[in-house]
């Protein structure tokens, strides 16, 4: 299928993607694209990435049959891809490790990153500690408040966490500030972007570092069941865990790909973070994609109980998969996500990240509508330790 050759030379997936950046950054993006292509063609680079993925990250991550969740739903068989068991507690480390090795190879020893939930910040801080790189993480003040534990973890690992006070003080604003830092220090600095968003070559490069998730899953399911799954489900913030999961299945047309966005307080309220479900096409942070924007092209504020999904844009490749009908995207609201969170805790003894809980919630609902022969794999993109304060607040005495 043609999808496998995208993006095109200009960084486009259909009409999405591209490189809408200040001129200052264009040479740096050219340099990054060239260095990335060269690294991926270098067997030594790939071997180093693979060794560290095994010995440092702990890959491969397991595929767990969720027996009691399956019973509870009384429908499809549900399997969990356990990215929550990757080092630092989420899939974010796959990309952080790949890009940090690339930065090292390019001779860039200063790393800047943005973070929402703090998982990408923690993963970046960890690999920078491991490789001896300087690490600066931009984080919105609102996210610093709601993900305080991760702020402390980043600092322990030697990162400097810079609070961002502009806008809604969440992920979008942290990306603005990280881009401004990169524009100002581009000669010495690599911007370690945490999802499949931003200008080319980021959406492609981050996808490639994440597709290990789907590749392992595909092999594990085939080994275990001798067949492919019927559904693959993942949450979508910027879309990195989802594209990593989907990509190796794209040519398997019988496998349905389902992305789950943050429905916040409900799509009808406008307070959500679901650009694929409810957005329009525009340009933000260097790429053309579906966006949440007003009629004048101003980017709208978002809301989600999960900081990692609280973003008004989404990766261009997901926009393309939506346009061609290869993947479908649904929204799960805050309340449903909290139910998904509790459900996985109770039935499987696994505490998912609130981001992943969106995918779990949809999986539960979907499983109920399916027969026993149907197989669903859901990506548990991260673990929920970081979210305990929010969950305690939200559930109060309800436990």
């Amino acid at each position: 299928m043609q999808t496998m050759t995208l993006p095109d030379r200009r960084g486009y997936f259909g009409v999405h993607g591209g490189r809408f950046v200040p001129e200052t950054l264009v040479p740096a993006l050219d340099e990054l694209a060239a260095a990335y292509a060269e690294a991926m063609a270098d067997e030594r680079f790939r071997a180093e990435l693979e060794t560290l993925s095994r010995d440092y990250v702990g890959r491969e991550t397991p595929l767990t049959f969720a027996e009691r969740l399956t019973e509870h739903c009384g429908g499809a068989q549900v399997y969990l891809k356990r990215e929550d068991l990757a080092h630092t507690g989420a899939h974010k480390i796959n990309n952080a490790l790949g890009q940090a090795l690339l930065a090292q190879r390019m001779g860039k020893r200063r790393i800047v990153a943005e973070t929402g939930a703090g998982q990408h910040g923690v993963a970046t801080a960890a690999v920078c500690a491991k490789l001896g790189l300087e690490c600066i993480v931009y984080m919105g003040e609102e996210d610093i408040r709601r993900q305080a534990l991760n702020v402390f973890r980043m600092k322990l690992m030697g990162a400097e966490v810079r609070p961002v006070a502009s806008g809604a003080r969440t992920l979008k604003d942290a990306i603005n500030e990280a881009i401004r830092d990169w524009v100002s220090n581009v000669e010495t600095t690599h911007y370690l972007l945490g999802s499949v968003v931003g200008p080319a070559p980021y959406p492609e490069m981050v996808r490639d570092f994440q597709l290990v998730i789907g590749r392992e899953t595909r092999r594990q399911v085939l080994e275990r069941l001798g067949r492919l799954p019927d559904y693959v489900v993942a949450c979508v913030g910027g879309g990195s865990n989802a594209i990593g999961m989907f990509y190796p299945f794209i040519d398997d047309e019988e496998v349905k790909l389902v992305g789950v966005e943050a429905g916040g307080k409900g799509l009808a309220t406008g307070q959500h973070a679901a650009p694929l479900a409810a957005g329009t096409v525009g340009v933000l942070h260097g790429a053309r994609s579906y966006l949440l924007q007003d009629e004048h092209g101003q980017i709208l504020g978002t809301h989600s109980v999960s900081a990692g999904l609280d973003y008004p844009g989404v990766g261009p490749e997901h926009c393309y998969l939506k346009d061609i009908g290869r993947a479908t995207y649904v929204a799960v609201d805050d309340i449903e996500a909290l139910e998904g969170f509790k459900l996985l805790c109770r039935t499987e003894g696994i505490t998912p990240a609130l981001e992943s809980a969106h995918a779990v919630a949809h999986t539960g609902a979907l499983a109920r509508t399916c027969s026993r022969e149907v197989v669903i794999v859901v990506n548990v993109s991260g673990r929920g330790d970081k979210d305990m304060d929010i969950v305690v607040d939200a559930l109060g005495g309800a436990l």
Partner: protein, 260 residues
Amino acid sequence: MNRLADVFDTTGRTALIAYVTVGYPTIEATLRLVPLLARNGCDIVELGIPFSDPMADGATIQKTSHEALLNGVTPDVCLDVARQLSGEVDVPLVFMSYYNPILKKGLDDFCRACADSGVSGLIVPDLPPDEGGELELVSAAHGVDLVYLLAPTATDARIRLVADRSRGFLYLVSLVGVTGARASLHDGLEDFVDRVRAVAKQPLCVGFGISSPEQAVRVAKVADGVIVGSRILQLVEQDDSLEEAARFVRAVRAALDSAE
């Protein structure tokens, strides 16, 4: 409509270009400020259309953009302001806008409205020529110049590409960074301007960071135009009678004239 090229062909002096965010601190203030800048020696005025996510801007323009948005400024309001101003001042007006508000309005609608409102050019900081082909065609069809930027990080190949595509003038970013007043200019500034001069036919205007008459004079030794933005907005913030901003522009003009 005033043509940008005429500024450089006919005035014979270093062009002084001012940037202001439309609607900061109020729409009325912008309507008073722009004629004041023109009277005190500016040759072109850039009208900034505020955007929610100004990733190429430093603290000052982030703040003015944010406040302008709170004041209800939209691209249509900016077009209306431009229409009023173009009847009143005889310097060319140029819009500075991030790409998304232009895209949302529709390239053709936007450019036609620019032409109708007396806007001579467009500067779009997140639109490099690699992505600008469509806007180039549409703006040209309406007689509006699309001005591209170049930065000191440019390779020779990049300089050739941008110089080939920019209309009106070339906007040289003085430093590796975002907008905002700076105490000192980049050491390599003259070398950068010389590199561009070797291949570009357009007038070269230098902006980002320029905040004093002395810096303007240094830039004028190598460039055809000097662009001042954040410093003017800081002075507007400090003194809403706008007298400080006018005084500053007068001082820059005088320094440029006596250095010629």
